[in-house]
Symmetry: C2
Subunit: 347 residues, 2 copies
């Protein structure tokens, strides 16, 4: 701990909360009462309310050796916003609970909150509550996000119908390759005698940013609304495309065909996969943490979707009995299995 | 792990969620969509929404050596309901996120959820979401509770006015004495050679129940509503009466006088304090975890409050410049300081 750093016990719980939350402004009229009472009070008029929550644990979901706290805060908020957008809703409020062990100073936690604040500002979301506590071990972050949606406008996972077109925004596999790169460079750095060793990430900025500072696709949800396209089902890609496709198939009681040659993949992702001698399609299908939107639209929206930039048609919905399969470049069908990230296999 | 127990990794995340949540029913019409999508969907019509959240960490907030998992689950839910009632609102939905290390089996986590389910059934609350993850250390429980309140009917901490009467429900200090007893018996048991040693808790059931299986005071909120009593401020007693009085004084910009001889204390609490040679008033003022309601009412409600069973008038609100003080039996005034439980001093 440096000379200018503050022990959390010097402030106590309420002092810490005051210090962490003082720079957060309330920007939504839906927020009637924020931090400082037994509960926050929200007012949504006639709109419906959506709620999603995420738990992030040090050593499981993040590694502070190569994830800056500010980025961690930003990402922790973004992944919740992404879930709200995936319901065709707008994120409005956030609660943040943290457990911190004694190796963290107030300044560390302020960096985490600086990232959360940046995300809140960028997406117009209000921090309205939370809980802070000591932890006997590492850092624990639990975030709950609340949003609203005009009644009847929500989009669930369960509305996909055979012949619907399957679309995905952005590109896939980049965050996963960014993680591989960070892990490799972290190992290399650990072996260096020179303490000032800095890895050279030039030409790899995109995949790093996709891993460290992802964005939620508010723009896609807004564009679809503007163009009068109403998805029949939607989900965000957190565990990997394969896993999300299976979620939609299960919830909608359908099958699907997705084409290998239609998968949107960035040039840097492809280069990195080659460098690591990894299968690029596997990275795109199962890598996860893309936070892109996977959605289905009626066949009649084909022309509208074709005109959109940043959205790609990757396949179509089938009858359930056809199952879920990836169609390879040579026309073979490979059953899609969820090989997404499973935290329970890791410990 | 016994022969009939199941490793969590055998089920995986989605399997575990399915198994844990299958016995939860949806009972509120306000819950449109529960578990199984990116977010839950809630519908509150014209009512306002309240949100509160709590993070519970093993080794900080609970000790599994003497807290059964089922009770832990019940209590984890109850403490959130208590916060919602303290806003004069009704809890409707709950999200539960857990992080579990490999020493826990599926059956362990099912016991935790059995307690949560019991609490949800008793209070009419729907489980609508959550997150499950592995943890490299102990058990992590993060709960968010959502409730509703007719617009304008919410009661905050900030409405207390000088001359208002200060009231508290139930009695104080019992949960704290229950904890002392559990900790002592746990130490005694550790020193016994007889593995089947069972502590004798007879005559101490009440203080144990107050610690292990507290209830939220829905009945008090309902009674006040029925009797036409509208508190000017309200808070639930989690960190201790002193701490909560100071929260109300700060939020309402007032002072207070509370009378030592008016503090509601159970006979078992007093006996236990004597046995431990502890100061009973300190236990009642600073023990915490009572989950009673502390509230203020206008002086004109004096007669109405007097008729209520289970509510005691303990003092009155003063001008801010008089500060917050406890008036002892001999008429001395002792400034009230928050000596409530501070998780940051413990690690």
């Amino acid at each position: 701990m440096g000379n200018n750093e503050t022990e959390i016990s010097d402030l106590g719980e309420f002092g810490l909360i005051d210090r962490l939350t003082k720079d957060f402004a309330i920007s939504n009229t839906e927020t009637k009462l924020g931090i400082g009472d037994d509960a926050a009070i929200l007012s949504f008029g006639e709109k419906d309310v959506v709620v999603t929550t995420d738990l992030l644990l040090e050593g499981i979901h993040f590694d502070l050796r190569y994830v800056p706290l500010q980025h961690l805060g930003y990402k922790a908020a973004i992944v919740n916003f992404s879930d709200v957008y995936a319901m065709n809703a707008t994120p409005r409020q956030l609660t943040v609970s943290i457990g911190v062990s004694s190796r963290f100073t107030v300044e560390h936690i302020e960096m985490l909150y600086a990232g959360i604040r940046k995300a809140c500002e960028n997406y117009g979301v209000d921090l309205v509550g939370g809980d802070t506590s000591a932890s006997v071990t590492g850092l624990v972050i639990s975030i709950t996000c609340i949003g609203d949606v005009a009644r009847g406008e929500e989009v669930k996972r369960s509305g996909a119908k055979p012949t619907d077109i399957i679309c995905v925004s952005g590109d896939l596999g980049a965050a996963f390759m960014g993680l591989q790169l960070l892990e490799r460079e972290n190992q290399v750095a650990a072996q260096q005698k020179d303490k000032d060793f800095q890895p050279d990430f030039s030409g790899k900025e995109y995949i790093l940013e996709r891993q460290l500072k992802p964005e939620a696709r508010r723009d896609i949800v807004e564009t679809l609304r503007k163009e009068g396209i109403r998805p029949t089902s939607m989900i965000d890609v957190s565990d990997g495309l394969s896993s999300e496709l299976l979620h939609i198939c299960k919830a909608s009681d359908v099958g699907c065909r997705v084409y290998e040659d239609k998968l949107p993949i960035d040039y840097q992702t492809a280069l990195m996969a080659e460098e690591f001698n990894m299968n690029l399609v596997t990275a795109a299908m199962n890598g996860g943490e893309d936070y892109e939107l996977l959605f289905t639209v009626p066949l009649t929206d084909h022309e509208k979707i074709e005109k959109l930039s940043g959205v790609k048609m990757i396949g179509y919905v089938t009858d359930k009995n056809l199952g879920a399969a990836l169609v390879t470049r040579d026309g073979a069908e490979i059953p899609i299995k969820a090989q997404g990230w499973n935290a329970f296999n890791k410990v």
